[in-house]
């Protein structure tokens, strides 16, 4: 998808890209938003995972990349797992390795879902949603979805 610049790798390994503002174990605004807004109807998130195939069953929305659907640090809540929202088959169950379809509503960017955490493993990708949202049953990542990023 992208060409990772060797310079970035070297610079990163040398610690030049260390983020100075966040101590270890801190949650981030993106994790907080994914966690607290993922089931709110007023969120503006463009990516949705469904418990069942063909965009059926319970769902949950995500606005930002997730390295591991099963373990996210949220301030005050410790390490938590994202769960499907409260309506439909699969409601309340964990999202990780438990989704069968997905929808991308973003009109410019694709959505990539990875087999394993931290963007490891094979991936399913959804093209941008032009002119209407694009949905796809997850082929390899059917019940094997562990991480997500815009791509």
């Amino acid at each position: 998808m992208r060409t990772l610049a060797k310079a970035l790798t070297v610079a990163s390994a040398a610690g030049l890209l260390m983020f100075s503002g966040a101590p270890a174990n801190a949650s981030t605004p993106q994790d907080e938003d994914n966690f607290w807004l993922g089931c709110q109807s007023y969120n503006t998130f463009k990516f949705r995972l469904y418990y069942n195939s063909n965009t059926a069953g319970a769902y949950r929305d995500f606005g930002y990349a997730v390295g591991n659907f099963g373990a996210v640090e949220i301030y005050g809540s410790g390490t938590v797992a994202y769960k499907f929202c409260s309506t439909g088959a699969g409601a309340g169950q964990g999202v990780k390795n438990n989704a069968a379809s997905a929808t991308n509503e973003h009109t410019s960017y694709g959505a990539c879902i990875y087999y394993s955490s931290w963007f490891n493993g094979a991936k399913d990708s959804l093209q941008p949603g032009i002119p209407t949202p694009v949905s796809k049953n997850l082929v390899n990542t059917y019940n094997e979805n562990a991480s997500f990023q815009w791509c």
């Binding site: 992208r2 983020f19 174990n25 606005g63 373990a71 931290w118 490891n120 493993g121 815009w150 791509c151």
Partner: protein, 306 residues
């Protein structure tokens, strides 16, 4: 925050790639579809570019998928075509910017797990870079593309009241201009490759490599059944890798190397992909032709903007 340190897709090309480069980008796929096929009509898998770096390996079905530069070209072409269409209706649409670069570099990078000791020494199982900064920059890039209601109406073709609006709005026109038709682009090659990936995990050579890897890890005090169980360990939830994660990842790399986990897995997947490519050769070639045509259209679009 070091937002500017991320390399973005297409950044090296500038906003409008030159025609020569665009054509050069399109050529590898053309060659792959027509010239790199194996004797049975399917392309071969290849670890020869850099045997020690899985990111450089090439799976058979990649012959039918756009590579990263081609994806960049297609992305840029659609955005440029959107802008040209929006301008006809009096809107100054700024093409969506490439996303910051984070995560796997190629289809085979991280496909079988981590492989770079230098990265693991700092980031453990995570990709090189600062994920906090990456997501913040992603947010900014995505929010910069937010449309006003009037723009949205023309972009999507809904309720605009504008005369002469293309069907489905400017977004659809841009998509048609590059891909030739409405609707989703074929995902057949990706879907078949994913099936092969999952099947490969269940083959005996891979199972054996996994068992050996698991035993190797156990000797060093780490209990995981399979290599890709390790990055999913909830103990490694922190965005910045802690010493325990880094130590695990370094031990993992040693065990991976000793039992050639990535090589065995890649070779098993290659065999399965080759079979799938033979079984679906006609559909794949049709999808490849669509992609070839799209790349040519994209090369024209990014030059002319129309």
């Amino acid at each position: 925050m070091v937002l500017s340190s991320f390399r973005v897709r297409g950044a090296s090309r500038g906003a409008r790639p030159a025609l020569a480069l665009a054509i050069a980008v399109a050529l590898p796929l053309l060659a792959a579809c027509g010239g790199q096929s194996g004797k049975d009509g399917a392309a071969d898998g290849d670890r020869s570019a850099d045997p020690g770096n899985p990111a450089t390996w090439v799976l058979p079905l990649q012959a039918y998928m756009p590579d990263s530069e081609q994806e960049d070209l297609l992305f840029q072409a659609v955005e440029d075509a959107k802008a040209a269409c929006m301008a006809r209706f009096g809107f100054n649409y700024r093409p969506a910017q490439p996303l910051p670069d984070f995560g796997p570099d190629t289809l085979t990078d991280l496909r079988y797990g981590i492989h770079d000791r230098q990265v693991a020494e700092t980031y453990g199982y995570k990709p090189a870079g600062d994920m906090i900064a990456y997501r913040e920059e992603t947010r900014q890039v995505m929010e910069a593309g937010t449309l006003t209601p009037a723009e949205e109406a023309v972009m999507t073709g809904k309720d605009s009241g504008k005369a002469g609006l293309p069907e489905g709005g400017c977004a659809s026109e841009a998509h048609r201009r590059v891909y030739g038709a409405d609707g989703q682009v074929s995902t057949l090659a990706m879907d078949l490759s994913n099936e092969a990936y999952a099947k490969a995990k269940k083959t005996e050579p891979v199972r054996k490599a996994f068992r050996s890897w698991s035993q190797c890890m156990a000797k060093q005090g780490y209990a995981y059944d399979e290599p890709l169980d390790a990055p999913s360990d909830p103990a490694f939830a922190a965005l910045k890798a802690e010493p325990a994660e880094i130590a695990t990842a370094l031990a993992d790399l040693e065990c991976r190397g000793e039992y050639r986990v990535a090589e065995v897995w890649f070779d098993a997947e290659t065999r399965l992909q080759r079979e799938a490519a033979e079984q679906h050769v006609q559909e794949l070639q049709e999808a490849g032709q669509v992609l070839e045509t799209s790349l040519k259209a994209a090369a024209r679009t990014t030059v002319t903007g129309s």
